[in-house]
């Protein structure tokens, strides 16, 4: 148990410290570590854990650490895995934050950051492009309406994100209930 907890801690710590590129990347690496290398979780089960981590609210990396920690060592496993996963970003951003106050007024850093903002908006637009195409390709009118409406409401009318998330969750649940009733009849 103690050895497992230690391995768990250092695995999530290491993966979290060296994974750039968001939740989906870290999920793949968690799978490599715990399914392929350590063989603590079987492949099938891991797929379900990935689904849980991705469909729950919160950072995917943290969610992934929770399901894997729970599977391996129960509640202590969760504590250890989550702790490992958040230490690296916490330490790095604390350091960055201390320097940011100094750097904010430095013209060299400012122009570097300004240029990078053009790049970061391109990255976001590119991600949105893929996601939006994925949705349009489903040829589901309701989803396209939800997409357009929530853009207009959020961007032009500044409607709160939490409200839009609730509304679209409710739409999904209602449709699912209506469709399943239709099937039974």
């Amino acid at each position: 148990m103690k050895d497992k907890l230690r391995t768990l801690f250092f695995s999530t710590l290491y993966l979290s410290a060296f994974t750039f590129g968001g939740g989906y990347v870290i999920i793949t690496l968690l799978k490599n570590k715990f399914v392929d290398e350590l063989k603590w979780i079987d492949e099938e089960e891991m797929l379900d854990y990935v689904a849980i981590a991705q469909s729950s609210p919160g950072p995917i990396a943290v969610n992934g650490a929770i399901v894997i920690g729970y599977k391996i060592c129960g509640i202590p496993g969760i504590a250890v895995a989550v702790f490992g996963a958040i230490i690296p970003p916490f330490v790095i951003l604390t350091v960055v934050s201390a320097f940011y106050t100094i750097f904010k007024t430095n013209p060299y850093i400012q122009s570097l950051l300004f240029g990078m903002k053009a790049g970061v908006s391109a990255v976001i637009v590119s991600v949105v492009w893929d996601m939006a195409f994925g949705i349009v390709k489903k040829k589901d009118l309701l989803l396209i309406i939800v997409m357009i409406l929530s853009f207009v409401l959020n961007y032009y009318f500044k409607v709160n994100a939490v409200l839009l998330i609730f509304a679209s969750l409710i739409i999904g649940v209602f449709r699912s209930l209506i469709l399943s009733r239709g099937k039974r009849v």
């Binding site: 929770i66 122009s111 240029g115 903002k117 790049g119 990255v123 449709r175």
Partner: protein, 188 residues
């Protein structure tokens, strides 16, 4: 309310409602941090997104640590970070328990189908709120003389091309944009 409680509850909401990882947290973070509490200006928020892209770790945790540190020091960062992961710890643990028992969860899947398009739109909106002030000097779309900055626009278009056609690494693309801008600043 004390700043620590405000930080805790602001990031608790970010943690509880960001479905779909990384970028999905962005509109929620800016809603709390920029619009509601004014802890960061929208230009500082754009810096934060840039920094979060450049460093490892989830953007929500990065943002909680950064904003907490900026507003209330290391204790603020700790409180905000706990707030952002607490909903995950509760929700995912319950799901893991339920999963161990039932191994299925169709209603959650159905609910998420219609959530995704809304999330995509809000990510796009957040992206626009970084892009538009970068490209238009006045901060809103307008083609009057002197409002459009050509250089960031060119950088943006080239970056989209580099990401989509050349499939370059996003961090590399961002760094190159920064370096070009810095080089121009040094030369001119």
């Amino acid at each position: 309310m004390s700043i620590y409680l405000e930080l805790f509850f602001a990031f608790l909401q970010v943690g509880a409602f960001s479905f779909g990882g990384g970028y999905a947290a962005m509109p929620l973070i800016s809603g709390q941090v920029v619009d509601k509490y004014g802890w960061l200006s929208s230009s500082e928020f754009a810096d934060l997104v840039t920094i979060a892209e450049m460093t490892p770790g989830p953007i929500a945790v990065n943002a909680a640590t950064f904003v907490g540190n900026q507003t209330a020091g290391i204790l603020g960062a700790t409180v905000a970070t706990i707030g952002v992961i607490l909903p995950s710890c509760i929700f995912v643990t319950v799901l893991a328990l339920l999963y161990a028992r039932y191994k299925e969860m169709p209603l959650l899947k159905d609910a998420l189908i219609s959530l995704r398009p809304a999330v995509v739109s809000m990510i796009f909106a957040a992206g626009l709120s970084i892009l538009i002030p970068t490209v238009f000097k006045s901060g809103s779309i307008g083609f009057s003389e002197g409002n459009l900055s050509i250089r960031p626009l060119v950088l943006f278009v080239l970056s989209v091309f580099a990401l989509r056609k050349l499939k370059l690494n996003p961090i590399l693309v961002m760094v190159m944009c920064g370096v070009v801008e810095l080089a121009v600043y040094l030369v001119l």
